[in-house]
């Protein structure tokens, strides 16, 4: 197996629960204990009400493509294996995530329903990606 050469996340104390859950193939995101807002990406305070009472919740993994592009020529050599589909996925619970939709590029559409899957890109890191339902 060739070495993985793309950028990898470096979890912080704030984000570690997210990446550890991904490694278990679970999608968990933060939820504000005060205003009940679901939050992505991991923070230390709720971006809506600024409460620090944030907990983690496992979510459905269902969502839709809010928007996408087919990157045919990447700006970074790390992604020289283009084309790939970069997308903003809107989770059923509300927050949006930057991710990839792994599907034939010409089949991807705005508003298309997708579900999460977990890509174990290295022994240490699992990325959260999506597939058409």
């Amino acid at each position: 197996m060739s070495e993985y050469y793309k950028p990898l996340p470096k979890p912080t104390p704030t984000s570690r629960p997210f990446w550890e859950a991904a490694k278990r193939h679970e999608l968990t995101i933060q939820r504000c204990g005060a205003c009940r807002e679901y939050i992505y990406y991991p923070r230390t305070r709720c971006p809506k009400c600024f409460s620090d009472q944030l907990g983690w919740e496992r979510v459905s993994g269902r969502g839709k493509v809010y928007s996408y592009t087919v990157v045919r020529r990447a700006s970074s050599r790390a992604f020289a294996d283009a084309p790939y589909v970069l997308a903003i996925v809107e989770l059923a619970e509300g927050p949006r995530m930057t991710s990839n939709v792994v599907a034939p590029p010409d089949q991807v559409r705005v508003e298309m329903p997708v579900r999460v899957f977990f890509d174990d890109v290295t022994p240490e890191v699992t990325l959260v990606k999506f597939k058409p339902v």
Partner: protein
């Protein structure tokens, strides 16, 4: 409190973008455009007592303004860097006016220069973006503006032809701009749509070309403006807004913070979009112009596509827009790309547009856009008769 009429742009310096920078340095380019702008204003270097600078990508460093001021041999009462991406130049103009209005200084040199080191787009250095964006290939701006375009097409029925029209009309403008990078031949909508697809739905000719270059503007107090060589171009209104950095976490990806920025600028000026004689919206991509015209109030939300088809955006047209060619044809010399919209507005309002002069241009609107439709700075400028 208002900055209306409190300061004026009195001089500009701008380089023709350079494709092969060789061993040039950003600081060296700054010295060239600083000298040009100071001479253009009819001032001496020692008249400059304020300094706003954008930190070049090619020479990044903290505590940059004093280093750059030292290279230029300036003694200043106010200095700072402005770091709001492509909105930095427009943002500098009102910050200069505010410092002047506060009595801190009288003549501010606003300057940007950068070199395009061709090669790999750097992985973002801001930790949060490196962690949650870069692993998925969200690197550089092309891919993200493409997502804005797709969503805009979905919500409003905007078409590739409408987006291409922006590049075509701006190219017509560039043909009359000796400083533009791409000024040798006209473009057609078909040529734009037949150029290589880079990031669906954006084609090569809808995307700025990185080049090297620099630009400078002198903003002065009314007193200094009185003895300037050029007709002063007054700042009538300014507005700024940001509500996200990565577009994924913006409240909407098709409705930008340009709306509150432009509303504030027009309110301060006591004017409306329809009063403008020329418009210079930041154009890193064709879709950016369409979204800006909508959010700044030149047409209804979602009507930007039909609007650019129904109007002639050239210098001789009914809606002169980016008469220098925009960055799409001028080129994008780092932050100086965003300054080209400001320098062009000033040039036109001074009546120095040459073959592309907009007739009787007295009022101009400029928008600077930073990052991914994140930082927005809008200006209303006026030449008084």
């Amino acid at each position: 409190m208002s900055l209306k009429g409190k300061a004026a742009a009195i001089g500009i310096g701008e380089l023709k973008p350079i494709k092969e920078p060789g061993d040039l340095t950003a600081l060296g380019l700054m010295a060239r455009v600083a000298a040009e702008a100071i001479a253009d204003a009819g001032l001496e270097k020692n008249d400059i007592d304020g300094f706003l600078v954008g930190v070049p990508f090619s020479d990044p460093g903290m505590i940059y303004p004093a280093a750059a001021a030292e290279v230029l041999g300036l003694n200043v009462r106010m200095l700072n860097q402005v770091d709001i991406g492509g909105a930095s130049p427009a943002g500098m103009i009102w910050r200069a006016a505010a410092a002047i209005d506060a009595g801190m200084c009288n003549a501010v040199l606003c300057i940007v220069a950068d070199l395009n080191k061709t090669g790999d787009q750097r992985v973002p250095v801001i930790s949060v973006q490196r962690e949650i964006e870069a692993p998925y290939g969200n690197i550089g701006a092309n891919c993200v503006y493409a997502m804005i375009a797709h969503r805009h097409m979905h919500e409003y029925g905007t078409t590739p032809q409408q987006m291409a029209k922006v590049a075509v009309d701006q190219r017509t403008n560039a043909l009359k701009n000796p400083l533009a990078t791409f000024n040798d031949r006209a473009l057609t909508i078909d040529e734009v749509l037949n150029s290589r697809m880079i990031v669906d739905p954006l084609h090569l000719y809808e995307i700025v070309s990185p080049v090297s270059g620099g630009a400078a503007i002198i903003v002065a107090s009314p007193e200094v403006a009185k003895r300037a060589k050029n007709p002063p171009i007054w700042l009538l209104g300014a507005g700024e807004y940001a509500n996200h950095s990565s577009i994924t976490y913006a409240p909407s990806i098709t409705e930008s913070p340009i709306k509150p920025a432009a509303e504030a600028a027009f309110k301060m000026a006591g004017l409306q979009p329809k009063d403008m004689d020329l418009v210079c919206p930041y154009d890193c991509y064709t879709i950016t112009v369409i979204v800006t015209l909508e959010d700044a109030g030149f047409c209804k939300k979602g009507r930007g596509g039909p609007f650019v088809m129904e109007h002639d955006l050239t210098y001789a047209g009914d809606f002169p827009c980016n008469t220098h060619g925009g960055q799409l044809s001028f080129g994008q010399p780092g932050l100086a790309g965003g300054m080209s919209h400001v320098t062009e507005s000033i040039r036109q309002l001074m009546g120095r547009g040459g073959e592309r002069q907009v007739k009787n241009a007295a009022l101009g609107y400029v928008n600077g856009n930073g990052g991914i439709m994140s930082e927005q700075a809008s200006l209303v400028l006026e030449r008084r008769s």
